[in-house]
C-alpha cells in the first residue's frame, strides 16, 4: 500500500503540475492577446496618421511592386488602386540611375534592431512622377526595411506641382516686377523734360504772337515804302513794338528754347526706347543681342533712382560681338543686378558716396561676354552669399521694395543660357557680380534646379 500511496501522491503532483502549466498557458495567451491589441492599436494609430498625412507614402518590394499606399499617394498619382502597380507606372524611370534612386543600398548609419526603415542616410531626390499620362515633379525620400528575407522600401512622396507652379508664377511675376518698381522713377524722369518742353513751347507760342504782330507791321512798312507813302509813323510803331516784345531777347531765347526742347524730347525718347526694349513681351526665341546697348538701357531706366544715390560709370568694350540669346530676359537680369547694386549703396553709404561700375568684356577662355557689376556697398556676408539666389531669400521684410529678383538672374543666366554667375564680396570691399553670357547658345545640360546648383558658389 505504500507503493499505492506513493503513486497516488505522484499522480496528484502531476495533475497539479499539468493544471499549473495549463493555467500558465492561458495566462500567457491572455497576456499575448492584450499585448497584441495594444500593438495593433498603436499600429492602427500610426496607420491613421500615415493615412492622413499630406505626403504620399508607399511601400514596395525589391521587384518594384507596390505593397501598400496611403490616401495621399492615391491622390498624388491619380489612382484609385495602387497595390501591385509597378514603380515605372508611377515614376518616369527612363534611366538606370533614376531607377536606382528608388532602391537605395543599405545605409551605414545605425540600424536599430537590424530591420528598421532608415531614412537619414538618403536625402530626398527629385523624380518626375506620372499622373494620368502626364509628368509632374515629385520629391521622394526612400527608406529600406528588412523583414527576415523580405526587403521592403518605403517612399515618402511629395507632390511639388503646386510649389513648382508657385515658383514659376513668382518668376514670371518677378520678370515684370522690376520695371513696375521703376515706373515711378521713370515717370518722374520723363515728367521733368516734359514740363520744361511744355513751358518752352508755351514761350514759343507767345513769342511767335509778338513776332507775328511785328511781321504784320513790317509788311505794312514794305508796302508803304513800295508805294511811296511816308513810313515814319510805321517805323515809330515798329520801334515801339520791338521794344514792347523785347525782340532781341526773343531772338536770343528762341533758339535756346528750341534746343532745350529738343534735348528734353531726346531725353524722353531715350527713356521710352529703353522702356520699350525692356518690356517687349518676353519671348524665348533667341536673337542677336547687343549687350552694351542693354546695359545703357538699364542705366537709362534706373537713372532717376540712382542719380541722388550713386555715381554710375560704364566701361563698355565696344568691340564685343552680339550674342544669340533671349534678349528680354537678359535685360531683366541686368536691371535686377543693377537695382540691387543701387540699393546696396543707397542703404548703406552717405548720399553721393555710392559708386557703381559696369563693364563688359570678351572672355576668350570661356567664349563668353562677362558683364561685371561692382559696387562700393557694404558687401554680402559670407554666411548668406549662397542664399541670395533663393527665390524667397531677402534680407529685408517683405514689402520693402526692391532688392530681390536675384533668383531670376540665376535662372536666366545659368538655366536659360548655360552661363555662369559669380559673386565675390571681400570684407569692406563691396560686391562684384559677374554674369557670364556664352557667345553661342550652348547645348544646355539637363535644366538644373536651384537647389542642385548651389554648390557651385
Amino acid at each position: 500500500m505504500s507503493n499505492l500511496g506513493l503513486l497516488r501522491r505522484k499522480l496528484e503532483r502531476e495533475k497539479n503540475a499539468r493544471r499549473e502549466a495549463e493555467r500558465l498557458l492561458e495566462e500567457k495567451s491572455l497576456e499575448v492577446y492584450h499585448a497584441n491589441q495594444q500593438l495593433l492599436e498603436l499600429a492602427e494609430q500610426n496607420r491613421t496618421i500615415i493615412e492622413s498625412a499630406a505626403e504620399g507614402i508607399i511601400t514596395y518590394d525589391q521587384e518594384g511592386a507596390v505593397r501598400s499606399a496611403n490616401r495621399s499617394a492615391l491622390r498624388i498619382f491619380g489612382l484609385s488602386l495602387i497595390n501591385g502597380v509597378y514603380l515605372n507606372e508611377l515614376f518616369e524611370l527612363t534611366t538606370a540611375a533614376s531607377y536606382g534612386l528608388l532602391f537605395p543600398e543599405e545605409s551605414n548609419s545605425t540600424v536599430r534592431g537590424g530591420s528598421v526603415a532608415e531614412f537619414d542616410g538618403h536625402l530626398p531626390v527629385e523624380i518626375k512622377g506620372l499622373r494620368n499620362g502626364e509628368t509632374f515633379q515629385t520629391e521622394v525620400a526612400v527608406g529600406r526595411s528588412a523583414f527576415g528575407q523580405v526587403t521592403l522600401f518605403t517612399a515618402v512622396v511629395r507632390d511639388l506641382t503646386r510649389r513648382k507652379k508657385m515658383e514659376a508664377r513668382l518668376r514670371q511675376s518677378q520678370t515684370m516686377e522690376s520695371v513696375g518698381q521703376l515706373a515711378a522713377g521713370i515717370a518722374h524722369e520723363i515728367n521733368t523734360p516734359i514740363q520744361f518742353v511744355g513751358n518752352n513751347i508755351h514761350f514759343l507760342r507767345g513769342a511767335f504772337d509778338d513776332i507775328g504782330k511785328l511781321l504784320d507791321l513790317y509788311d505794312q512798312l514794305t508796302s508803304a515804302v513800295r508805294e511811296g507813302h511816308d513810313p515814319a509813323e510805321l517805323v515809330d510803331e515798329i520801334d515801339r513794338q520791338v521794344e514792347v516784345a523785347d525782340l532781341s531777347f526773343l531772338r536770343d531765347e528762341f533758339p535756346a528754347a528750341i534746343e532745350q526742347s529738343l534735348e528734353g524730347i531726346d531725353r524722353v525718347a531715350v527713356i521710352v526706347r529703353a522702356m520699350k526694349e525692356f518690356s517687349q513681351s518676353p519671348s524665348e526665341v533667341e536673337s542677336a543681342f547687343d549687350v552694351n546697348r542693354a546695359i545703357e538701357n538699364a542705366v537709362a531706366m534706373s537713372a532717376s533712382v540712382f542719380r541722388e544715390v550713386a555715381a554710375i560709370q560704364t566701361s563698355l568694350d565696344e568691340s564685343i560681338p552680339t550674342v544669340l540669346c533671349m534678349g528680354s530676359s537678359l535685360n531683366q537680369a541686368f536691371l535686377n543686378v543693377l537695382t540691387n547694386a543701387i540699393e546696396a549703396v543707397s542703404n548703406h553709404g552717405e548720399p553721393g558716396e555710392g559708386r557703381i561700375v559696369i563693364s563688359t568684356k570678351l572672355n576668350n577662355v570661356n567664349q563668353a561676354i562677362d558683364v561685371c557689376f561692382q559696387d562700393n556697398g557694404p558687401g554680402i556676408p559670407d554666411e548668406i552669399q549662397h542664399r541670395i539666389f533663393d527665390p524667397f531669400f531677402t534680407t529685408k521684410d517683405v514689402g520693402q521694395g526692391m532688392g530681390q529678383g536675384l533668383s531670376l538672374v540665376y535662372d536666366v543666366v545659368v538655366n536659360k543660357h548655360g552661363g555662369a554667375v559669380s559673386v565675390t564680396s571681400p570684407p569692406l570691399c563691396g560686391t562684384t557680380i559677374v554674369l557670364s553670357i556664352p557667345l553661342k547658345p550652348a547645348e544646355l545640360p539637363v535644366r538644373r534646379e536651384h537647389a542642385d546648383a548651389v554648390g557651385r558658389f
Binding site: 499539468r18 502549466a21 495549463e22 498557458l25 492561458e26 495567451s29 491572455l30 492577446y33
Partner: protein, 194 residues
C-alpha cells in the same frame, strides 16, 4: 477540438463510473494520445467519438444519450469554472445568445485558432428563441445537453424542440425554446436583438 472537452469527459466518467471504467474506456478507445489530454491542447474530434463508443460499450447506453448527458455535465462544470458568464443572466433565452457574443469572444482571445461551432439565435415574435447550431463536427447532441442543462439551471418555463437540419448528421440543428407561460419578457428581447 479543444482538450477541455476530453479532460472533462474523462473527469465525468471517473467521477460517475470510477477510475477503472475510465481506464477501460481510454484503453479500449485506443486513441493516438492514449488518454493523455491537456485542456489547452487541441485534439482530433474522432478521439472523442471513439471514447464515447467505448463508453457506450461499457454502459450499454446509446451514444446520443451519453453525449447529451455529457453536455449536461459540461454545463455544470462551466457554471463552476466560469461563473462570470452567468452573472446577471436569469434565463436560457437571455443566456444562450451570449454564447456567440461573449463566451466565444473570450475563448478566441485565448485560442485564436479554435474552431468553434456557431449558435445563431433569433427571437421570434411569439417570444420563441430559435437557435441554429452549426459545426464542422457532429455534436448537436452535446449542444442539446448543454441547452437542456441551461433550461434546468435557470428553471425556465419553456419547451425545447430540436429539428435536425442539413445532412441530418448532427452537424446542423435548429433548437426552439418556446415559453410555455405567457410572460412578457423584455430582457430577453433586448438581450437577443443586440
Amino acid at each position: 477540438m479543444k482538450g477541455i472537452v476530453f479532460t472533462e469527459l474523462i473527469g465525468m466518467v471517473e467521477a460517475t463510473l470510477g477510475d477503472e471504467v475510465a481506464d477501460r474506456v481510454i484503453c479500449g478507445a485506443n486513441t493516438a494520445t492514449d488518454g493523455a489530454y491537456t485542456s489547452v491542447g487541441t485534439y482530433d474530434y474522432q478521439e472523442l467519438i471513439s471514447l464515447v463508443e467505448q463508453l457506450a460499450c461499457e454502459t450499454g447506453q446509446p451514444e446520443a444519450a451519453l453525449v447529451q448527458s455529457f453536455g449536461e455535465y459540461l454545463f455544470q462544470r462551466f457554471l463552476a469554472m466560469f461563473p462570470q458568464f452567468f452573472d446577471g443572466v436569469d434565463s436560457s433565452i437571455s443566456f444562450l445568445p451570449t454564447i456567440e457574443d461573449r463566451v466565444h469572444v473570450e475563448v478566441r482571445k485565448l485560442y485564436p485558432d479554435a474552431e468553434l461551432p456557431t449558435f445563431a439565435c433569433k427571437l421570434a415574435n411569439d417570444g420563441t428563441l430559435v437557435l441554429e447550431y452549426q459545426s464542422k463536427r457532429p455534436f448537436a447532441d452535446l449542444a442539446e445537453g448543454l441547452i437542456h442543462a441551461s433550461v434546468r439551471h435557470f428553471q425556465d418555463d419553456v419547451s425545447l424542440v430540436r429539428h435536425n437540419l442539413g445532412d441530418q448528421d448532427g452537424t446542423q440543428a435548429r433548437f426552439e425554446l418556446t415559453p410555455t407561460l405567457n410572460q412578457p419578457n423584455d430582457t430577453v428581447a433586448s438581450a437577443c436583438q443586440t
